[in-house]
Symmetry: C2
Subunit: 243 residues, 2 copies
Amino acid sequence: MIVKCTVAYDGWAYAGWQKQENALGIQEIIESALEKIHKKPTSIVASGRTDAKVHALGQVFHFESDGKIQPISYVRALNSLLPLDIRIQKAEKAEDDFHARFSCRSKRYLYIATRNQKDPFACRTKGILYQDLNVEQMLDACQFLIGTHDFTTFSSSRIDPRKSRIKTIKMISIEKRGQDYYFSFEGNGFLRYQVRMMTGTLIEVGKQTIAPLDVQKMLDLKDKEACRYNASPQGLYLMEVCY
Amino acid sequence: MIVKCTVAYDGWAYAGWQKQENALGIQEIIESALEKIHKKPTSIVASGRTDAKVHALGQVFHFESDGKIQPISYVRALNSLLPLDIRIQKAEKAEDDFHARFSCRSKRYLYIATRNQKDPFACRTKGILYQDLNVEQMLDACQFLIGTHDFTTFSSSRIDPRKSRIKTIKMISIEKRGQDYYFSFEGNGFLRYQVRMMTGTLIEVGKQTIAPLDVQKMLDLKDKEACRYNASPQGLYLMEVCY
């Protein structure tokens, strides 16, 4: 039986989703807890990685279960073993052909940046801004990012050169709430660092160090060296994975 | 010149306000930053200690300045040197006889406890509850705590036996907000662990493991061994110190 789990985590203390040579990945911690429950090693597959310090409210992973445990019982069983900053939200039986990565239709990310430099809690949960942002200018720039494009410019040099860099962004919204700016992104998939690099670039537009049209020019270059902006990881949240 | 500073901190990573033999105190970190600014050691005096992992939004401390730096300039100067989870909110010239501890008239604390066991961020910022609380019963119990009493029952065995254990609590309020319970306390001063032990006791009343009247009985015992309840530190916030 395939079990589909939704997990939320505070990424602050972790080196990211994936197993690392020199640091503990969230995947590894959940697999250790599953091994305790199943009394044998169990691999899990997530919708995709999240980087070091990046949070998730709705990351999804799946694993193979022998069916001895009711799917819903994994919530309590896993949460009693996991650290308090990794919390299983939901566990359910999935179709036999369900795959957390390959069945994914779209993902939603949120980036929170704040102007409040005096909030001692922000350093673990938000990107810190040192000036106000022009929301109108940023929204103008979003128009160049929405749609189907080759996003090589907004990706890590460490991504597999054989993989397609063409992705579709369905929606970007930017909203000011008090001293915070909320950037929401929805797309069929994102390259490594893409959300943080797009956010970092939009922030530069908001600071008016670059113009909205520069975003179009950067995108057109399809060059990994064309974007130097990368918003800090602790402001990023994987909100939802849609199947 | 006496400078009065208001500071907010996320206490999660720290061993508390005071210098420790084997761990870094928040006081020590601020003194190190001041030493860099003044180019000589500068001691600071706070309104009181906070324990390991306890947060503050409005802790107050004072120090002696030679007047070369405008008081308000300490905000930026200190914040540029301090870790991001310790943030100076305000710095101002105080009266010559101002003393952060002795001039304090009252303090306000907030304790946040949550029923949301699935929030991965709560473990650093809220106490976690495993059952619902009866707010009416807790409010009944508060009536026994409000007023001037010997609070020996709700104090640490490590407090100085020569010091008075008589304190006045002006106000306690308890409010349910979504899945969270907000406990507010205002008093002329609090003994070590007093707020956490009162909160822990009120939570037991809310769980109905003890009756409101038991709180009166515990208080009357004036015995450090009479209360075994101590709410976890990461839910506690020193909100305001009034002068």
